[in-house]
Symmetry: C2
Subunit: 135 residues, 2 copies
């Protein structure tokens, strides 16, 4: 039984490492948000670049500190409301830092009992940036 537990533990640890590589190797800007606290719990380098922020300074920040809803509502209230009925939705929001308008592809899910949101940030000049990255 002990060996089994250890194998299980190792398998989980491997997912941690794979998770980190997925985040760091992606050119897509992504952030994870804990919907109960409203805090950003992870962000990759691409997201930090897109938001013109240090990665470390983004993690732990409130979603409402970084983003504004386009409708004028509190952005956390808005995503919490959407998460009750949908799994995915593209939501328009603005970055408070850069004042840029973003299309955010959200995915709502549960992990170990927590309600989390994954955000793929896409600025409206995405095509231009991608050309630049690929060049």
């Amino acid at each position: 039984v002990h060996l089994e537990l250890e194998r299980d533990y190792e398998r989980h640890r491997q997912y941690d490492a794979r998770y980190r590589v997925l985040m760091d190797s992606s050119t897509e800007p992504m952030i994870f948000v804990d919907l109960a606290t409203g805090n950003i719990i992870d962000a990759n380098r691409s997201a930090a670049e897109a938001l013109e922020a240090d990665r470390d300074s983004l993690i732990g920040k409130a979603l409402t500190q970084e983003f504004e809803s386009r409708s004028g509502d509190n952005i956390l209230d808005e995503v919490n409301a959407i998460s009750r009925s949908e799994v995915r939705r593209v939501i328009e929001m603005s970055s408070r830092r850069t004042q840029k308008h973003l299309f955010v592809a959200t995915t709502f899910f549960r992990a170990s009992g927590e309600r989390l949101m994954l955000c793929h940030l896409q600025s409206s000049d995405k095509d231009a940036r991608q050309q630049h990255t690929l060049a």
Copy 2:
């Protein structure tokens, strides 16, 4: 101590869930390969589409069954050789199923003692496909 272990376990389980969401929500075709066995250990839906295969049929397959090296070498030997000196490299290979030429952005890393490779598959008609997806 028991509670701490449990918390640790829960934290790891949360990464498993985040990992799954990262894979499934991405429009980038991605596969993970165990470099010791040479087998594909995970593939997302985008990768299955790009390779015109079922996701389930890809997992467990040998890398050499799915891909050919452009140089004529065994593709597993080629990536193993590169992994000894580099962390990242774009490698050209062909899909045996589709006969399509791919640019594969590889990332080599270790996870729980295993040598793994993450592959981002990019076909040469990527821009055309992306336009299609966004339209």
